[in-house]
Symmetry: C2
Subunit: 363 residues, 2 copies
């Protein structure tokens, strides 16, 4: 039986994970946002506000002026980081969104866990594997749910591609290519982002900031984890002296499926993921940036389709998933342990880049 394509089209951007009627939610999850860089202000805060399952109530940052401005503009409680640490207004939020420099995630995750608040932490989970493990341990010890902000996992385009893989659209997956690049210093001029060039604050640059997209998205799509990695990093410009400007890496998944990935903080914008299988091919291009249009090309045998659709607000989807799963007491797919795997993969790629040899993972 040929399925009705009208149903496929109608359901394309519908949330396949949603069991709770948004209109029936009277008490959305109240979120305190920690870290008011451009991404929080332009994407995460609007996302939390747009989602029916969440609302923003509190903001904090080391930058007092940013706190005052954002709090006033959105009618939120603005706290200094000292006030936040001391528990001021802690009864006004149920959950904490952490979007500080990577190496500050742990502190805020621990603080939230101590107070029994659920956590939505930006990726990568921390600057090092050790600190990421401590963040997960803190949440597990306190019994608070921890989600990591892999917004590709709630992006409908990615979920439809995953559904195609699951239904056998491409047959056996043969290999994956993924690339993500931007001119970081050209496009993102806000000074709050320069922590990415500080290895202590970030744990790395191209690989930590961008590499996590191809890695996690491929893991999510294939429903598998890499067993071996081989990678290379390099920097050619002085601004990137302390961190990796470019990276190229290869992930070996079970069944010997290889994903070949490149990322760069100083290259022409690119954002693409393609999966080639024995019977079909799936291409997301653009794939990874929140500010892009979405499109997918799907090919099977002699038939190809270019899918275009109205982009969702990716941070609204992510916040909605977070709030929805808290309200329904449902486990997150991208939880702390899931994110630890990415941290170990990233770490192994840096190790491979340093030694020049492939590194096996026992995840």
């Amino acid at each position: 039986m040929v399925p009705h394509l009208r149903d496929y089209f109608d359901a394309f951007t519908r949330r396949d994970w949603q069991t709770l009627d948004p209109a029936a939610v009277d008490d959305p999850v109240r979120v305190a946002l920690v870290g008011l860089g451009w991404f929080t202000r332009e994407w995460a805060l609007p996302g939390v506000q747009r989602s029916a399952f969440t609302e923003a109530t509190v903001v904090t940052d080391v930058d007092a002026e940013a706190v005052a401005t954002v709090a006033a503009e959105h009618d939120l409680v603005g706290l200094s980081t000292e006030e936040f640490r001391d528990g001021v207004a802690a009864d006004q939020y149920d959950a904490v969104y952490v979007a500080t420099p990577n190496a500050a995630h742990l502190e805020y995750v621990e603080r939230a866990a101590d107070r029994g608040k659920a956590v939505l932490c930006e990726k990568p989970l921390e600057a090092t594997v050790d600190r990421a493990e401590r963040a997960v341990a803190a949440c597990e010890a306190a019994g608070v749910p921890l989600m990591v902000g892999y917004r590709m996992q709630t992006e409908p385009a990615v979920r439809r591609v995953k559904a195609l893989l699951d239904e056998g659209f491409v047959g056996d997956v043969v290999h994956v290519h993924a690339t993500m690049s931007q001119t970081m210093l050209g496009e993102l001029t806000d000074a709050t982002d320069q922590w990415r060039l500080d290895a202590d604050q970030s744990g790395g640059c191209a690989l930590m900031d961008l590499g996590v997209y191809p890695i996690n998205t491929t893991r999510f799509l294939l429903d598998a984890d890499p067993t071996r990695v081989f990678g290379h990093t390099r920097s050619e410009h002085v601004a990137f002296d302390a961190v990796d400007e470019h990276a190229a890496f290869q992930l070996a998944f079970p069944e010997d499926v290889h994903a070949l990935c490149t990322v760069s903080q100083n290259a022409q914008h690119a954002s693409r993921l393609e999966i080639t299988g024995t019977e079909g091919r799936l291409v997301l291009d653009p794939a990874f940036y929140e500010r892009e249009e979405r499109a997918a090309r799907i090919v099977r045998g002699g038939v190809a389709a270019d899918l275009e659709f109205e982009p969702v607000h990716q941070l609204e989807e992510e916040a909605a998933y977070f709030g929805h799963h808290l309200l329904t007491d449902t486990a997150f797919h991208p939880d702390g342990r899931h994110a630890l795997t990415d941290m170990r993969v990233l770490d192994a790629i840096y190790e491979s880049a340093a030694t020049g040899s492939p590194v096996s993972l026992s995840l």
Copy 2:
């Protein structure tokens, strides 16, 4: 000064290497074609016939029926391979095109060299590095010109992309992705192609037959040779028990530019090469097959252009380049020594696949 785009458009498929007026050629290079598989019959023979600088005069193959059919249909001298070896009708050709199974190239190259005939040999040059070196040595000892059939090097789309790289269109090259795949047993059902599954005859399958395209095209475009490779091959279907069905490999070029490549003889058709630089991006898709349309997407800063153009007959271009350069006594770019580098790269990738470690090359 903004250049005139009308000139760019008008010159797009014009041969930038051509110095001899085709209309002025009275005595084109007479070519004997050795090996009448589907590629020779459908592409190489028509290419030699179409080119103003070459003409087909003699054909030979181990299949007597194929020889009789092709010779009659095209009014050519048809020889058994024994007759060809014995020098029958040797005064009726100036050059030999070799398109036998890889492991038979050497024999025919040597035979041609012995008789002072120029050689156009299909790629890969032979089934092993050692035999390829012997083929080059035979031609050098006899003083006969040897060209290897890298038809991408005379494909206008590839040459325009190279010109863009040379003018600095993408700034510094950061990385390259390339993929080429087909369902060999589905699409190419002709029995004469099954030698590709015989390791002794072919030297390998996915990598030898397809891998040479991303390798050689990237070398040509970057005007550089890989210094280190890392690769992986695998076979999952019984037909490919003796050879590689799929391969994934990474080539490190000078300046730490990495090319990430995948090829497969049993996957959905794909054919793509993309180069990302600090300031621009060049994508050939489709890229590699003679039977495809041609298109290129070129991006620099905020401006993108999709280039479409009437495809040339790739084998006519290759044959014309071969004949033209013989008539003008000009050295070939893709000569025997150029091809030896690909053989060493292929060999190193197989070695890396066998050992699981990267392999350095001193070319």
